[in-house]
Symmetry: C2
DNA sequence: ATGAAAGCGCTAACAA
DNA sequence: TTGTTAGCGCTTTCAT
């Protein structure tokens, strides 16, 4: 394994005093500032928050005192006294997978613009107990609201465990009627890609599915709908994991089958893996097999052949989710649904059947 | 562009009362619980925190009251009274790029295990003003400490703006002596990959660099060291952006040059782009040009040819960073440095020169 | 084991 | 414009 070394790299002289060495000095409080500036505590508070006007000279003295003492307001006290919290928790099973991280990024961008911070709460397993435990821990923190990423069963469990007497927004997944929700119309999108492949001349389309959030994910449902509407046979769903390597394995297995000419993959990582596995097995893409992905991963355009895929605007999804949260934060309790439709990006991995 | 629809999806009957419809009801406090349970406030606190023993019957009554009222402790009040905060801010310029998100994931995992939550603070531009503003905002929140991702100039600025009278840990970048820091030995790693290519028989190695954190990043320095030590000529550094597409452009340009037989890329996305560009330009990898990457991106093994790369343990880096934070949180002010060495993963994208 | 009292650092309501 | 007085909801002494 990797070597890891750990070593002290210096003892700054200001910490040489043994009485100081074990903890950080107690920070200056608003009272200290008031004393140094020769004003009352609320006056300091007023220059800090701008809640009320302060005469120029006092304001100046306060500012100097703050500078001199290196004063920083205590967030906990502020939150307690004002009743306003600035943290939005994002509860999710994942932070690294493309769709998740891009969505979180969108939430963060919108939250920051509104003066809020995003707190990450990862819940690993989709059991009711773990969801409840995570919710209890999270709600014990000073939070303004919670956004749940419901791309998978973990999100479903978390949302079930969450009391609805505080601002809650769900992202993606099945639409519920009691919570504001930002979603992508994956059913329609799944139908659209499948239709695209059918229109290219393929007799049917095989589907490699991502792990579903409940019974079946929207992409899979859309795929089935399109096939049935076209009177095409509906082949059994092939299940993959979130990992690209599972796509490789499936691709190798598919390479020897003459009956598969078009494959719709539940996401781009799987599609890229599938293409690799297919070519490992001697099948050419798109000449022998057409492959389309889902999401428009940053590497989809760099892949060879360029991956045709359904572009999902995850950052936009995240921003819309925060938009719904912002409404709740303002006191508007109306439950609203924000939907957007993914768009096909045509590159080179799909074409007419051989 | 994408269609976005937004619509109300229901007005739950319990909110029909107009007096309730514009805000959430005031939550139960510990005093309410005490009243219902017929005990004192501190007793409720004791069953909540476990700070002191409580008789079984009172504990039971308290638990029932909590359940009945749907009581949840107020995090801000708790933080203020106890002086203990549970949030660790991670200040970074990015959350989606592989190295960043994998590191944050490692921090989160370790933090969660220790009962802490990660707050994301994104700083977009590497100016002193923006860094100071971001620091001011972040430090106005109830935080236990701050971890700075110093992969780039933004991190450098943020660290400069950060007062050191609270727990601060830096991740990666140049080693400073006044802050605990978790790093990967990128200089050594850069030397190692370059050496690997040289040993394969290449006369020299070209380098496509990622945006550097200050003057030059460690990977580039290591590359130069190896070349100089071997007496090889040092070609000019080729600069790329974080984007894989920049690798494609560079690859196309490089495809027509006979003098480049080996290229060391600053990260895997660029390497994948480079391979795509090279093959677009008619050059074969590794027959005509050997390419190695850096990081071991999740798709590196799925790429064709499989990408030879320096594997960086980002989640481990994040965990080590939190480990240093945990020491500071316990009051140990010793400034320590934790270093680990990336390891070469040999796949198929590099070989002997033609 | 339990309660009374004090106080964490700040903002809000009220006078002046 | 400013200061005084009260809390915010919890934890922490300190008695008992």
């Amino acid at each position: 394994m990797t070597d890891i070394s750990e070593s002290p790299i210096g003892h700054p002289s200001q910490y040489a005093d043994p009485t100081m060495s074990r903890s950080f000095a107690k920070p200056a409080s608003i009272g200290d500032v008031a004393k140094v500036a020769g004003v009352s505590v609320p006056t300091v508070s007023r220059v800090l928050t701008g809640a009320a006007p302060v005469s120029p000279d006092k304001r100046q003295r306060v500012l100097e005192a703050i500078e001199e003492l290196g004063y920083r307001p205590n967030g906990a006290a502020r939150a307690l006294a004002s009743g306003k919290q600035k943290f939005i928790a994002v509860m999710t099973s994942e932070t690294s997978i493309f769709g998740y991280s891009a969505t979180i990024q969108g939430i963060e961008t919108a939250a920051r613009a509104a003066g809020y911070f995003v707190v990450i709460s990862v819940v690993e397993s989709p059991t009711a107990e773990e969801a409840e435990q995570a919710v209890r821990l999270v709600l014990g923190q000073p939070l303004a609201g919670v956004i749940v990423l419901k791309f998978d069963p973990v999100g479903v469990r978390v949302l079930e465990a969450l009391p609805l007497d505080l601002p809650v927004v769900a992202v993606s997944g099945e639409v519920a009627s009691d919570v504001s929700q930002a979603v992508l119309d994956e059913v329609q999108a799944g139908t659209d890609v499948t239709r695209y492949l059918l229109d290219l001349g393929h007799e049917t389309v095989h589907h490699v599915a991502i792990p579903p959030s409940r019974e079946e994910d929207g992409r899979t449902i859309g795929w089935r709908n399109a096939l049935e509407a076209a009177g095409a046979i509906v082949p059994p769903v092939i299940s993959a994991t979130w990992d690209a390597a599972s796509g490789v394995r499936i691709g190798r297995a598919l390479a020897i089958r003459r009956d598969v000419t078009a494959v719709f993959c539940g996401n781009d990582e799987i599609a890229m893996g599938l293409i690799a596995g297919l070519s490992d097995g001697g099948a050419r893409v798109p000449e022998d097999v057409s492959v389309v992905g889902f999401d428009d991963h940053p590497l989809a355009g760099v892949w060879r052949p360029g991956l045709t895929t359904m572009a999902q605007d995850f950052p936009g999804l995240g921003r819309r989710a925060f938009g719904l949260m912002a409404k709740l934060l303002e006191g508007d309790r109306e439950v609203t649904l924000s939907t957007s439709l993914p768009e096909l990006v045509v590159r080179a991995s799909a074409g007419p059947p051989r």
